[in-house]
């Protein structure tokens, strides 16, 4: 006598239906938002056909953005993400630095004297070409070797933070980092040129209302290296 009163056929059919893989994932697994079709298509390596204006992709992009925004808002509500300002606002604040051409750099005369005298000579030479800008020479440990201004603390902080970040990179062991360009909180443009001199890494920092073009940076770097290489 059967005690469970179960219809074997019925329960087997139900069991079979439950053994099929579900068509959706469990709700805590976030499905990766699908890219708009135009982003999935691989770009051709060479352009064999004439380039035309691409068809507007506004609708899928808007849809994609709104889905990303919804995911972000849910993450913020769940406390998984800080509720900072929207990315779109941050993007709007990116400042394109205004570039100014300084006077051409005068020839650098051979330097002599103590280290501080040579730094002084280098700084005066560089300053003569950088009209409205302020110049600092900073040691690798954050010592201000030349220059004085209300901004020096801000400049030193920027250099030290950047130096610490650079040292964490594997590349720092084998090459001198590239110059750093930043807009300070005061609105000034800061450029830091690291120079691997005979006495260790030193930084030339220049702040000004306008930015210095890249073409002059190697000359400044070479001048400081030459000044430090000179015999005392």
């Amino acid at each position: 006598m059967q005690v469970s009163w179960i219809d074997a056929q019925q329960v087997n059919a139900l069991a079979e239906s439950l053994r099929l893989e579900p068509t959706v994932k469990a709700s805590h697994e976030v499905a990766a938002p699908s890219m708009p079709a135009s982003m999935n298509e691989p770009e051709p390596f060479t352009a064999d056909e004439p380039v035309h204006e691409s068809a507007p992709v506004e609708t899928p992009m808007l849809d994609f953005r709104s889905r990303l925004q919804a995911i972000r808002e849910r993450a913020i509500r769940a406390g998984l993400m800080p509720s900072h300002q929207p990315i779109s606002e941050v993007v709007d604040k990116v400042v394109v630095p205004e570039v100014v051409m300084p006077k051409s750099l005068p020839p650098l005369e051979a330097m002599a004297g103590s280290v501080s005298e040579r730094i002084d000579a280098f700084a005066k030479w560089a300053q003569s070409a950088l009209d409205q800008s302020e110049l600092f020479v900073v040691g690798d440990q954050g010592d201000l070797l030349w220059g004085q201004s209300a901004h020096s603390g801000l400049v030193l902080s920027a250099i030290m933070a950047w130096g610490a970040t650079s040292r964490m990179s594997a590349l720092s062991a084998c090459e001198t980092p590239s110059p750093l360009r930043r807009v300070l909180a005061t609105g000034s443009h800061l450029i830091v040129i690291p120079c691997a001199t005979r006495l260790g890494v030193m930084h030339i920092a220049i702040t000004g209302t306008v930015s210095l073009p890249d073409m002059h940076l190697p000359a400044l770097r070479q001048a400081l290296i030459a000044a430090m290489d000179a015999e005392g």
């Binding site: 005690v3 469970s4 179960i6 139900l14 079979e16 239906s17 053994r19 469990a26 805590h28």
Partner: protein, 269 residues
């Protein structure tokens, strides 16, 4: 991470006992495990400590408490943490929007995953409706404990039908298996019920291990510990839950998941 709920239409089938001991066994086997009590009765907390009645927990999270650290209780086993039921009545008085429950449950599971939890075990109230329905739907797997007595197993088709409906409604939950509980070795009827169900259902839908009806489970409950901690040397019945934990590892793919995450990257990856 995987989330496993236990569910049954009938109450008193041993869901809470299973959850506590299974969570303990999984943690002992090295899985960082979070035991969540979604039953307003608070059986998990009441089984383990007197003080849990006053603690915040699952329902407080649903009501908007975001600091997970305030809610989760550590245990003597570093791999095992407990999220008690919390202040159900206070939260129910304030109310929570029913529509937001699935999203809050998903947030809970994601938070657990971010804390490095490998396995979430969710104890539910009897019945497959209301909060229990939402919990089961939010999980990856559901274990179906069935008391080995005629009246209890007669509800099996009904339960499978309900789970089928959950799937049709878009839930991704899979059945880890039906687990026979409170099996009485000295009762021919109890044994017959188990035999009938095993004969009727596909083998992979039934856990190989049964949970017998033993007085040691009552003793463990009285002492507020998992069975394995009842005595200095774990009693043999503690191995029952180790066996179930091992079956879960296989059925839910826990082992494969860990192997995949810990495998070495190949040179060309």
């Amino acid at each position: 991470m995987i989330a496993i709920a236990t569910a049954s239409q009938k109450g008193g089938v041993g869901k809470t006992t299973l959850c506590i001991n299974l969570a303990y066994s999984l943690a002992r086997r090295g899985w960082t495990t979070l035991l969540v009590d979604t039953d307003p009765q608070g059986g998990v907390g009441l089984s383990l400590a007197r003080s849990t009645r006053s603690k915040l927990g699952f329902y407080d999270f649903l009501s908007g408490e975001r600091d997970f650290n305030k809610l989760v209780l550590p245990t003597r086993l570093p791999e095992l943490q407990v999220l008690p039921c919390g202040q159900y009545d206070a939260c129910a008085r304030r109310g929570w929007p029913a529509k937001e429950v699935p999203a809050r449950l998903a947030d809970l599971l994601r938070t657990a995953e971010l804390r490095g939890v490998d396995c979430v075990i969710m104890d539910t109230a009897a019945g497959l409706n209301g909060m229990s329905e939402s919990v089961v739907k939010a999980c990856d797997y559901v274990i179906l404990p069935q008391q080995a007595e005629p009246l209890a197993v007669r509800s099996v088709p009904h339960m499978l039908e309900t789970l089928s409906r959950f799937r049709a409604e878009g839930a991704g939950v899979k059945v880890a298996g039906i687990l026979m509980t409170m099996v009485m070795a000295d009762s021919a009827i109890s044994q017959k019920v188990v035999a009938e169900l095993r004969a009727m259902l596909p083998a992979d839908l039934m856990f190989e291990q049964n949970v017998p009806r033993l007085s040691s489970f009552l003793e463990a409950s009285a002492m507020g510990v998992p069975v394995a901690l009842l005595k200095k040397n774990p009693p043999p019945e503690a191995l029952i839950f180790d066996q179930i934990a091992a079956e879960i590892e296989q059925r839910a793919g826990l082992v494969q998941e860990r192997e995949a995450s810990q495998s070495h990257a190949s040179l060309l990856d």
